[in-house]
Symmetry: D2
Subunit: 338 residues, 4 copies
């Protein structure tokens, strides 16, 4: 931690800060420059948490030097984490594709989708049973009935399933049916939910919030890991910007940035990011080339009849064609699609 | 709803859309232009919800004409709503100031604050007992003990109290102690929580999400009203932009925009928006001049010792001075401070 | 300047940096912490400009301590600057209102406007003769003919005039006719234009770029001051965000932020920021309450016939009513409207 | 164009609009719905430009149906444009790599770079002679001397050269030396400069503005094409968001979006977008996989000594390794690197 004093800070003010820090058991290093004095703080900074030094007399600003996230930080855990989900794993030398409908609608829809995506090359089935929708008048999901249909599809195809949870009640239900919990973008800083998801010890897919910085995202993951659950996979799904040609702006820089700051796997969801079917394939290819560990791709037997996000869903032939196009690129990147 | 066809849409594609709409019980009006054909849809559009017409053959895009929020919409409820909270009310011809610490820390802190802010001119006591914090290692709040301290302060001073809730458990506890529930920015689209807050029938203070559009904010309020709870007060608290000189960018345009689109009261929180104590007063004045129904201002007996957000908290003398400066401006705006 | 080393930086790497800095004539202070080593640099940092220390071995990142803008910085020039424009001045104990049409269209329009706004209370006439328009097919301005009409209006009414310049040719023409040059938002980082405007020694109104940070804005002003021209007035006119209910998001926090970081006057343009006539008045009031030195308000004799930005222009009666409403608020803020 | 009337618009107001439109020579189609009336306008909308119908009585809002850009629009020019630059071409079945230093610094630097990048696989040499810099105290470029060095490097290696221009004077000089003009992000809406660049008939590389929408970018290109110059190549280089882990947020969605809306070629600059050397390679790969026609990559013989943007520059061995890694991906995408 570095404390930058104001140009006109008095010697008494500087002394006061230095003494305060020492009384809290830390050491200081003073740099007295032409314009300003800088106080470097050495030691365990948690002793100064919530001391609000920012408003002490003479202080201009305080710069943190180390990251607040520890368990998710690559500095303290250099080896990449591999998260096992059912009979597949994410974060190793393979590309994992999760696919399925935005919302679970019927037994036929889910079963038909599971069979088709497995055949094309997907390893995990996705499907929403609890749908966070902007308007209360939009379809809100089949809830536990939807989870049950997902489980049946797993039993029939062997594909592990991932479902979003939006409340304690949803978690309580989901643990009976699914292989992986998803925390959606709108709940990325629902810290209560993060803790409860952590307690289940199930793998958790944590989507980036619409306006979350990468640092906040890693801090959100830290909530899950701090509950003793190391099985977290991050998912970039677009951030909110001024651009309106796409629903959100897919931030593919997040892939190398996460790679340099954390040991957790990262996958990319081009379907929700763009909201436009025609843009899914080029951005899926780009995500794999950027080094992502996997993809989440929306598919639907009849997108024009989907109750949610149909315009971004691929048909089964489109999905199969996508997988075939991805295959050689994934192989080149050292992460072949099984 | 308006459907814009692609320039090369075939006559068959246009017929298909028109027939589909009519089969769903709505009427169409066709405008055939030089470049494109436009289909106007007349009737109850909920019959077309989730039909995904966007991806039907020949369709370029679909433009909604009417807002998805109804109960919060001024068009259908032109009279301003006045929300009663304890012995005060928000949305009428008076300015309401909510004040208190970011986080409840002790009985003395809360009681001392309640007495001081009441004397200076505030009508409602705020204080957080459940704190959503970016890092799991920051102070997370006193929870139910904190709510109890807030209630004691109300009993001693008569000031109604507002506390943030972050989960079902927090709501279950809060209804026993507080006069108004707060849904924070990070939970603005926690739709589960919105519904549960709606069911309590307590007044709800709904903060705008960090990256929420005004339309999404009104849709979030719609979730509460749709549960039969009309007592919603909106709170602008800054949105996320590229600017880093302030913690967020206070969007004061939201005051007249909400005024033109909704009947709900709107207050402004310059403390969280800026994160800097020196900017609170000019922006509080600006909010009142823009026509806000109230303010939320953080105060603390000893900001430098606050466990949360000390740098933006006012001392009691600073708060008193702020109220005195606000008084004549509020009177000029036709919303005097009691 | 502070250099933060990587956790695994070798002693040799640290020595290398320290020696390099000393060879450039500066001093260093080392803080060796549990996790990282920090090197404080003391002395004239321009000696290290463009040395790209960021990529030296072992360096994690470099934090600047002092601002790059000097002439515009309040730290080195604590007294507020007052800019004289014709017979009025901006930045003192008075509120200055600039008003007029977005674009100069005819002699009648300009003259009629000048007379009306002067009567209502404005001190400066604005009017665009060179219009930067998103599409090449929109009206591009009357150019030098427009400047001439502005000058005639000044001669008739005594109001000084401000016009936007967009090129060297426009500056060469404008110096013959106007009292103040305006650099628009789209040209805020047209550094060539900033230098040329600086050389004229005319007062310059510098609008904030659509996505400019306050620090970049002050650096842009620095370009003008560095040419020996201290007569710069800043104008906040909205920044680009995800919100679409207003054309841009007016950042009124900029008023106190600029006040704390610079000695230059700051005015606010709610017309361009919102793009909606009904929102101009509440935000004009808010700007004055936030402490702005002035306002820029678009007016037009017949907004529905304006060739540019009619929807945000006030009619003359609306403008007069606005001035009358502003008057007591301006007086309360210690900046009465003459 | 579609005009949406307010719910309470009177029959007289609707008649007034309809008559006004007809008087301007266009046709109307009325859709009278439950809540609102919609007026579709058919015919040449330029007749209504600048009529400010938005503020006519009873009008709620106006929605454009067709894009304002015409010459750059794929609808009216479905075949992809191929831009010839020296002996190479951009937009066909090949990947083009432009590389070189951010700023021209010396004859040795430019010559050494030209030789090295040509050997590795680049087709075009880039180098800045006029540098737009945030601070007036940063290196501003070698100007015409720099252009001369670029030309010498072309003569020695045969690589065509591209240089940024920032003013009329810079264009006048550049046409004597370079093969392609670059308009930088900060000048994307310097409409004067766009027109002048258009008049030269040289190929123009148009970078996207930091906060420009794709629609504005295409309108900026329209300025160049409207001068009779069809040789425009677009360059995505990152937009400004709240994320601070990278300098800007590279918007790779722009590649398929541009592909669907325009016939112009698009290349990607991951160096300026990220500002971090380690992120250049993954994002260069991603850009190629997304379908980009080319890349702009900064290289420098000694990045640690670069006078501008050293931290993002690749060394020659790094660049060679990048080209080798790109080669098979480019081949897979049907755009082999020569």
């Amino acid at each position: 931690m570095i404390i930058i004093m104001k140009p006109d800070a008095s010697a008494a003010a500087i002394d006061h800060i230095v003494n305060f820090i020492r009384q809290n058991g830390l050491e200081t290093h003073l740099s007295t420059g032409h314009e300003v004095t800088i106080i470097g703080v050495v030691g365990d900074k948690t002793a100064l948490a919530d001391k609000n030094l920012e408003i002490a007399e003479g202080v201009d600003r305080i710069l943190p030097v180390t990251e607040s996230y520890k368990l998710t930080n690559k500095k303290f855990h250099p080896e990449p984490t591999i998260v096992k989900v059912g009979n597949t794993s994410i974060g190793g030398n393979n590309l994992v594709i999760m696919s399925g409908p935005c919302a679970v609608e019927s037994a036929e829809q889910v079963m038909e989708t599971a069979v088709a995506i497995k055949k094309a090359g997907a390893q995990i089935l996705r499907g929403g049973a609890y749908k966070p929708r902007t308007s209360p008048y939009s379809f809100q999901g089949m809830e536990e009935d939807g989870l049950r249909l997902m489980k049946e599809a797993r039993e029939a195809t062997g594909l592990p399933v991932v479902c979003e949870v939006t409340s304690q009640a949803a978690i309580d239900a989901a643990v009976k049916y699914v292989d992986m919990l998803q925390i959606g973008a709108r709940n990325m800083q629902n810290f209560f939910l993060l803790k409860e998801a952590g307690k289940t010890k199930l793998p958790v897919l944590l989507k980036r919030g619409l306006s979350a910085t990468i640092e906040e995202w890693l801090n959100a993951a830290e909530y899950i890991l701090a509950e003793g659950n190391p099985n977290v996979v991050l998912c970039e799904r677009g951030i909110r910007t001024f651009e309106t040609a796409t629903r959100n702006t897919l931030d593919l820089s997040a892939v190398p940035v996460i790679r340099s700051k954390s040991h957790l796997p990262i996958i990319v969801d081009p379907s929700h990011a763009t909201g436009v079917r025609d843009y899914v394939k080029p951005l899926a290819l780009a995500a794999v080339a950027a080094g992502a560990d996997g993809l989440m791709i929306e598919t639907h037997p009849h997108p024009e009849k989907a109750l949610s996000d149909g315009p971004q869903s691929l048909t089964f032939p489109q999905f199969e064609e996508l997988c075939n196009t991805l295959r050689p690129v994934a192989a080149l990147m050292g992460k072949p699609l099984a």
